[in-house]
Amino acid sequence: MAEVRIKDLHKHYGHTHALKGIDLTVGDGEFVVFVGPSGCGKSTLLRSIAGLEEISRGDIEIGGRVVTGLRPRDRDIAMVFQNYALYPHLTVYDNIAFGLRARKVAEPEISRRVDAAAEMLGITTLLSRLPRQLSGGQRQRVAIGRAIVRQAPLFLFDEPLSNLDAKLRDEMRNEIKRLHKEISTTMIYVTHDQVEAMTLADRIVLLRDGRIEQQGAPLDLFERPATGFVAGFLGSPSINLVPAKLLSRGAVRTVLLETGEQLELPPTHRVEAAEPEKPVLLGLRPQHLAVAGAAALPPGVVRVPTRAELIQPTGTRTFVTARIGGTEVTAEFGAHEMQGQDAALEFAVDLNRCLLIDPATDKVL
């Protein structure tokens, strides 16, 4: 196991400033996920930790040892790649044993470790096959097996599930989570898929344009995003953003929609307002919109009349497209909530959980 420390890491590709001063610590045994849109620098950061990219400035420490400038083979890490990176001319056994042979480990020990890893991953019967005879999921297991046998203190995963179909991706995600539980090695995982990030991570590091936008436990980022970008990135379907104005009259704060409706924020809402009138984006997660019944609504939940424009049942949930304040929003209901319901309906909007985003700074107020 190893702690990873990254200090003021910068990386330039010619004139492009890919990483702009990354400061990060990954704890011993922690599972950290780097997530973000394409081009945000997450793979560059991972590859810099691996030593596959030369950094322009900064320091990297693994297990208390400064590894900046060291070759990948000297950093004692194991890596799983997106395209499996299995050697097509070697059998599964030889693929898994490759790294150990390169480091001159004795054959009996190699055999013991390969058998143990194969047993853990359920690929014992595949050891004599060539990679081309394996399915995508089996290949990825072999790639993970190759990392496990190294017994390295740090595992790096570079979008390992991107090439798999949805069902297989779910299966392998569980495998990886189970693996971390079993061997408790420090793991850094890169993905663009926020569902993978949310389900796998002890801590998420969300990157944007080469900087860390926010980091923290998955639910922390989901419920208390620091910026509109974080709020919009996490959550599927993504958060609805309705242009509005925040009006503050003493202790009373109201959100004025473009259609003229005014929604009073509950006093417990954490937003702090400095000006009497401030343009904001009202962030409403699809899960925080419900169909308002006849019964009285709890405090902080308001009725907003609307009209369902599109109804998309998926079997487990139903997605409804409607408008709030003139802006198109998506709501997520239970599977049967729209049955027998008119197109004209009332949303129960949970303002306790809404976010208010400053459109100028993108910060959540």
Binding site: A50, G51, L52, R71, P72, R73, I77, A78, M79, F81, Q82, N83, A85, Y87, P88, H89, F98, G99, A102, R103, R146, R150
Partner: protein, 279 residues
């Protein structure tokens, strides 16, 4: 408009296709067969009208004459020169290609400059090369021709191998580097085995280029280092041509390349098609 053909039309089309294929095959193979046939014929059979399509008996006199008179040694000269220069060009060229493919050494300009060397017609530099060889005392020497063929084949090897190496996924090498290999180990354990088809295909073509060269061999050799294409011209006199010797020597000269291609054809097909289809 209907594209469906009746069974009779399909049979006619198939017959026509086979007929055309047979004609083309005969057109291409007949000269090769004729060459073999002449090498076994007597002078009378060679010049007979109407032609003797199949030799009366398989006489080896023409071949024996080549060995007895020492002419067959030129095949050995060609083997040594083409073999050594090909091996050198492949070794040097593959490493250069790796540097270009993986480290982008010299950028695009260097790669283009290298292949542009191959676009120059050899005849253009025959005279300057001859003068340089005279100055360096390399005329009529093995190492002279080996050096020259290596230099001529290097651009081709670098260009071809650069493409084959670039086709190997970089992740495979990165995985090897992370797993504990040095660059050299990565090259030998990952790149070399994976580029095998390309290596074989390129090696065969490199060998054939060197084997078949005539102009440089003619100008830069005298008596010690005669290669087989030059030897062939010795049988073409002003007043007569020794067809039996020409054909026998040609057959002997074709054999090494024929054997090499037959042994390596599995790699050749894969190597050529790999180069053609780029993912």
């Amino acid at each position: 408009m209907s594209f469906a053909a009746t069974p009779r039309q399909r049979r006619i089309r198939l017959t026509l296709r086979y007929a055309v294929a047979a004609i083309v095959t005969v057109l291409f193979l007949f000269p090769v067969y004729w060459l073999f046939a002449i090498s076994f014929k007597t002078p009378d059979e060679i010049f007979a009208v109407p032609p003797v399509w199949v030799p009366g008996e398989l006489r080896l006199d023409n071949y024996l004459a080549l060995f007895k008179e020492g002419d067959a040694a030129t095949i050995w000269n060609s083997l040594v020169i083409a073999g050594t220069s090909s091996a050198l060009a492949m070794a040097l060229g593959t490493f250069c290609a790796y540097s270009l493919a993986r480290f982008n050494t010299g950028g695009e300009n260097l790669a283009m400059w290298i292949i542009s060397q191959r676009m120059m017609p050899p005849i253009v530099i025959v005279f300057p090369v001859f003068l340089a060889f005279v100055y360096a005392g390399m005329v009529d020497t093995f190492h002279g021709l080996i050096l020259l063929y290596t230099a001529f084949n290097l651009p081709y090897v670098i260009w071809m191998m650069r493409g084959y190496i670039a086709d190997i996924p970089l992740e495979l090498e990165e995985s090897a580097l992370v797993d504990g290999c040095t660059r050299w180990q990565t090259f030998w354990k990952v790149v070399f085995p994976m580029a095998r088809s390309g290596l074989m295909a390129t090696a065969v073509f490199t060998f054939v280029f060197a084997w078949n060269d005539f102009i440089f061999a003619l100008i830069l050799t005298r008596t010690e280092v005669i290669t087989f294409p030059v030897q062939l011209t010795h049988y073409m006199g002003g007043q007569s041509q020794f067809w039996s010797k020409i054909s026998a020597m040609s057959v002997l000269g074709t054999l090494p390349v024929f054997i090499a291609v037959t042994l390596l054809q599995r790699y050749l097909v894969r190597g050529i098609s790999l180069g053609a289809v780029k993912g």
